[in-house]
């Protein structure tokens, strides 16, 4: 398997941390608070799920934590770098180096092969592709024999595995997964979740996953529940049934 990232230096502090995070949309009467004064931190090598009903602010939280959006107030720190004050270019380079993404709709480039999609982040960064670790990664996600296929020739589960490999290839400090099973059947969902779990266990990867799906959240080490822009529960590992019970209360 791949080497685990060197976490000895950063073990003392969280990979991602948010302090007093508030995000307001609109102005005046029409102003809506998507997130109110949220404090949360994610430790290295952990698999966390963010859950909550629609409109609870979980997507907003992920966008802020990943440096895709800017908070109205409060701070986000990724791997020791505070995002406030970074201009678009610096923020982009930070995402390039420290953040990986897995999306609900896979978001692969249709004209590239699976292998080209996986190595895309390295190429964007202008870095050389290490053939040996690419091969290992392809093996790990079970796509060694599919690397020349284009997304249209792959199943949904296979496409999402390509997307996971794409997120892993730069060894980011954190991977944000946005409803990664939202568009998959249950068999493919299990495969994808298994793969994310192994990335954490085997590689020490940090993953933050936003999801609706109790089955998905049950794979995580920790589950953060949001409601009306606030963290209402912050639990360790729960089973799917326990999660559903919590969600019933929230709704």
């Amino acid at each position: 398997m791949l080497e685990a990232p060197d976490t000895t230096v950063t073990s003392a502090r969280p990979v991602v941390a948010a302090e007093h995070l508030t995000r307001l949309y609109g102005e005046g009467q029409a102003q809506v608070a998507a997130l109110r004064d949220v404090e949360v931190a994610f430790q290295p090598g952990t698999f966390s799920a963010v859950m909550g009903p629609s409109g609870s602010g979980k997507s907003t939280l992920m966008h802020l934590l990943a440096g895709l959006d800017r908070p109205t107030s409060g701070t986000v720190t990724i791997d020791g770098v505070e995002l406030n004050g970074l201009n678009d270019k610096k923020l982009t380079l930070l995402r390039r180096q420290k953040v990986g993404f897995v999306f609900q709709f896979f978001n692969l480039l249709p004209m590239l092969t699976a292998e080209e999609n996986i190595t895309l982040p390295l190429r964007i960064a202008g870095e050389r592709v290490d053939e040996a670790s690419l091969r290992q990664l392809l093996e790990a996600v079970g796509l060694a024999d599919r690397k020349e296929h284009r997304p249209a020739e792959l199943s949904g589960g296979q496409q999402q595995r390509v997307a996971i490999a794409r997120a892993l290839i730069t060894r980011p400090a954190v991977i944000f997964a946005d409803e990664p099973t939202g568009n998959l059947d249950s068999q493919s969902s299990r495969e994808v979740l298994d793969m994310l779990r192994r990335a954490v266990d085997d590689l020490g990867q940090t993953i933050v996953m936003v999801t609706h799906d109790a089955q998905a959240a049950a794979v995580a080490d920790r589950i953060v529940f949001l409601e009306d822009g606030r963290i209402v529960r912050d639990e360790g590992h729960l089973t799917a049934d326990q999660i559903l019970d919590v969600m019933k209360v929230l709704r």
Partner: protein, 853 residues
């Protein structure tokens, strides 16, 4: 359904506007052309009406050789004036002189209209016929003249200033004693005018006792038509073919229709370039409709599930095309007004102050603009509309539904091949078939080119992937990821890229064709000078005006000058058709000109008798004559002679149809002046010093003429080719501009489709700069594909046309450097086209780009 169409148009504002620009530009060129030429025609019409307003009848000479004779028509003898004056019913008749002339200040600097408008010399008309009004000073007496106030101001002249006037007669010093204006507005359509007393005017134009026009006023009670009839009756038989009598109104109409005939070439040329721009615009319309319909497949599927029939879908798309065409045409008309005024202003800036009587907007212009705009838009939208009708209702439910392929798609390569091959065949037919009318020949060549363009455009989708791969390779090597993604983006929808590139291809094919052709013309002019011109000094007028006969003897008297030979040219009727005839001096011509003999030799020149003639090979084959044949020649002065062919030379740009001895027809040239005087230095003389002496003589005595070395002749030829080339480039710029909007449009639509991809790329660390370069490189690849195809088609066109002109000494050449410049141009063009779409792509909000539905 029409409500849906309308709302759709508004919600897709941006692409609707971009689409419309493609049609607006072409239509503006067409309507602007009409407005410009209509305005010029109307203005000249007013000028001639003013000039002839108090004249009941005019008597003018007509050319015995008929039609366009190349030179002015020989004047009327004084006996005709006497005849007219004795005609019953004539109250007053006067003879007038009117001719082209040149004016110089005493330092030899030209005073006159610039930008091609002539300087016209008139005899002062009797007060009742005058169309000019004195602005300052007094009417001239003796060696005095009045000049139009525009020229007076332009050249900072002053009353009392002495100038030199040169026409066919001796150069004469005259004093400016007044200024005039024409009618109520100003000058005579940009021409400079001077008025001289009749006798002086006759002397200066070497027409003593003769007139170019007789103006007649009838006694009251006699109508203009009556007086014309009466004068006609008085004209003796011997003069019938040489005199035309008509009313003043008819005369004005004749003059205006002569102007509009002259403008016809300009009108057609501008319309052709406008048509090319519209043709290019059609590609963009086709592409936009194809793309937007593909993007609306789900919407169309939804309409079908709601019960819309195929016919309704078809009507809805065609209505959209109709509305876009209509609005674009109207905007094109408006833009045409601006364009016509712009061209007018450009003419004015170059000194050709065309008369302006306010912009003329004829109903015909409006109708043509709307018809062209609407029909072209609907025709271009028809195939995409048909494909829209094939969207099944189920498309409403599918994610990323594709537009169904046309039923004919699998035949496309065959159709493309047939259309392209047909185009080449028509082209070859147009070039090589024996067609007498130049207009017909050019129309056939044009039709061939259009077919060729369509064929190549249809084949292009198959070429996009390999071309994009080849072009993308160096870019990818250079830029890595941005180049790679750009290449992949360019080739993921080959038809879209192909049609976008094809629009640019048309402009660049024509551009490279004229680039090659101009290089060939320059080379052939150089070769002709090297091959044929032996004279060291060539003396002629740069504007092509004739020079006085006194130049040759004066040059011969300069110390150090050896052989001097004068050459004259005119038009005459030879064996029934109007031909160019040249007068050469057999004793000296061989020293300054090398004949390229087809039959005969230099001995035929030295032994040339007064009734011997040399003809060109093209004339000989055209008229089926050979050595020993006799030719019937009728000169512009109505002299008839029969001459015998003693030699056949290869036609060149210096000597074409028929060459006679200078003294055979010397007294019968219509203008009594020389075209060119050529001279050589005496052996041992200092060549440069002799040239300086000739220059000094011309400057002081004959400022109308200038001496040119062989090198300068070549440079002048090159300059005129380059001027023409620049003009054509400017006219083609409109088509290229249309294709620029095509690229912008395609990029914007593609970026819209790829919003989510761009969002993903940005999320995983692609900088805005990288996103911009992805778009720019895609644009560059598309543009360069267009350029490569354009160059290929342009070279093919040039090769065929050159082959057809090989008898004229045109040899096929490939100016690789100049052509490569166009490829570089296409790259820059791509970057410019991408500027705004790239900015849009880079500014996309990442969150919106990756948001769920």
């Amino acid at each position: 359904m029409s409500g849906v169409t309308l709302r759709g148009l508004f919600s897709r504002k941006l692409r609707t506007i971009l689409t419309m620009i493609a049609i607006v530009l072409g239509v503006s060129m067409i309507s602007g052309t009409y407005m410009l030429t209509d305005t010029i025609n109307t203005a000249f019409n007013q000028i001639f009406q003013t000039a002839d307003r108090n004249i009941d009848a005019v008597v003018v000479p007509t050319s015995p050789i008929g039609g366009f004779s190349g030179g002015p028509t020989p004047p009327l003898p004084a006996s005709v004036l006497a005849l007219v004056r004795h005609t019953p019913g004539v109250a007053f008749a006067e003879g007038d002189v009117g001719a082209e002339a040149s004016i110089y200040d005493l330092n030899g600097n030209a005073i006159g209209a610039v930008g091609g408008a002539p300087t016209l010399l008139f005899s002062v008309a009797a007060p009742r016929f005058r169309s000019t009004t004195l602005v300052s000073g007094h009417w001239p007496v003796g060696n005095q003249l009045v000049i139009d106030k525009t020229m007076f101001a332009k050249h900072h002249l002053h009353l009392g200033q002495v100038v030199k006037v040169i026409a066919a007669g001796p150069a004469t010093r005259m004093t400016i004693v007044g200024t005039t204006r024409f009618g109520s507005t100003g000058n005579l359509g940009g021409a400079a005018t001077i008025d001289l007393p009749l006798a002086v005017a006759q002397r200066v134009t070497a027409e003593t006792g003769k007139f170019n026009q007789i103006s007649v006023a009838a006694v009251s009670g006699v109508t203009p038509a009556d007086i014309v009839q009466r004068i006609r009756a008085e004209i003796p038989h011997s003069l019938r073919g040489r005199v035309k009598v008509e009313t003043g109104t008819q005369s004005a109409q004749d003059a205006s229709s002569a102007i509009s005939n002259g403008l016809q070439f300009l009108t057609i040329a501008l319309l052709v370039f406008g048509g090319i721009a519209v043709f290019v615009g059609a590609f963009i319309i086709f592409n936009t409709f194809s793309i937007t319909i593909a993007q609306r497949v789900r919407e169309i599927g939804l309409l079908r599930t709601l019960g819309a029939t195929r016919a309704q879908i078809l009507r809805s798309v065609l209505l959209e095309a109709f509305l876009i065409g209509l609005v674009s045409s109207l905007l094109g008309l408006l833009a045409g007004i601006g364009l016509a005024q712009l061209i007018h202003a450009v003419f004015k800036a170059f000194g050709a102050d065309l008369p302006s009587a306010g912009l003329v907007l004829e109903v015909r212009t409006v109708i043509v603009a709307i018809l062209v705009g609407v029909l072209v838009t609907m025709a271009a939208g028809f195939v995409p509309a048909l494909r829209a009708t094939r969207v099944p209702p189920i498309a409403a439910l599918r994610e990323g539904a594709q537009l169904p392929r046309s039923r004919f798609a699998r035949f496309t390569p065959w159709i493309a091949g047939i259309v392209g091959a047909l185009g080449v065949l028509v082209l070859i037919a147009g070039v090589f078939a024996s067609i007498s009318s130049v207009g017909t020949r050019l129309s056939i060549i044009g039709a061939g080119a259009v077919l060729l363009f369509l064929g190549v455009a249809m084949v292009t989708p198959k070429l996009v992937r390999p071309l994009a791969a080849a072009l993308g390779w160096p870019i990818e090597r250079m830029t890595r990821i941005t180049g790679m993604l750009a290449r992949d983006n360019a080739s993921r929808n080959p038809t879209r890229t192909a049609v976008t590139a094809a629009a640019l291809m048309i402009g660049l094919a024509l551009v490279s064709f004229v680039t090659i052709f101009a290089a060939e013309l320059r080379a052939s002019a150089d070769a002709a000078v090297n091959r044929e011109i032996a004279g060291i000094y060539s003396i002629y007028n740069d504007q092509g005006q004739p020079i006085p006969r006194a130049v040759a003897p004066a040059v011969a008297r300069i110390p150090g000058v050896g052989a001097v030979s004068a050459l004259d040219g005119d038009a005459a009727r030879v064996n029934g058709s109007v031909s160019n005839i040249y007068g050469i001096q057999p004793s000296t011509i061989l020293a300054i000109y090398r004949f390229q003999w087809k039959q005969g030799s230099d001995a035929a020149v030295t032994g040339m008798g007064p009734l011997d003639a040399l003809v060109s090979d093209t004339f000989a084959s055209g008229h089926k004559v050979g050595v020993g044949s006799s030719l019937r020649v009728t000169t512009a002065t109505d002299r008839h002679l029969t001459v015998h062919v003693v030699g056949i030379y290869k036609s060149s740009q210096f000597l074409t149809d028929v060459t006679l001895r200078y003294d055979t027809v010397r007294s019968d040239w219509s203008q009594g002046q020389d075209e060119i005087v050529s001279a050589n230095p005496r052996p041992g003389a200092n060549q440069k010093a002799v040239q300086r002496r000739i220059t000094a003589l011309l400057k002081s005595e004959f400022p109308i003429a200038a001496v040119h070395s062989q090198q300068q002749i070549k440079q002048n030829a090159e300059k005129s080719v380059n001027q023409l080339l620049t003009l054509i480039y400017v006219l083609l710029a409109m088509s290229v501009l249309v294709s620029l909007f095509g690229i912008i449009n395609t990029l914007v639509l593609s970026i819209y489709e790829r919003t989510r991809e761009i969002g993903m790329l940005r999320a995983i660390g692609t900088t805005r700069g990288q996103v911009r370069w992805i778009v720019r490189w895609e644009s560059v690849i598309t543009a360069v594909i267009g350029a490569i195809l354009g160059l290929a088609v342009g070279i093919l066109l040039a090769a065929v046309v050159t082959q057809g002109l090989s008898s004229q000494g045109i040899v096929f050449t490939l100016p690789i450097g100049s052509l490569l410049i166009w490829v570089v141009f296409a790259m820059l063009f791509g970057i410019v086209a991408a500027a705004w779409p790239a900015r849009r792509a880079a500014r996309l909000d990442i969150l919106q780009a990756i948001a769920y539905e």
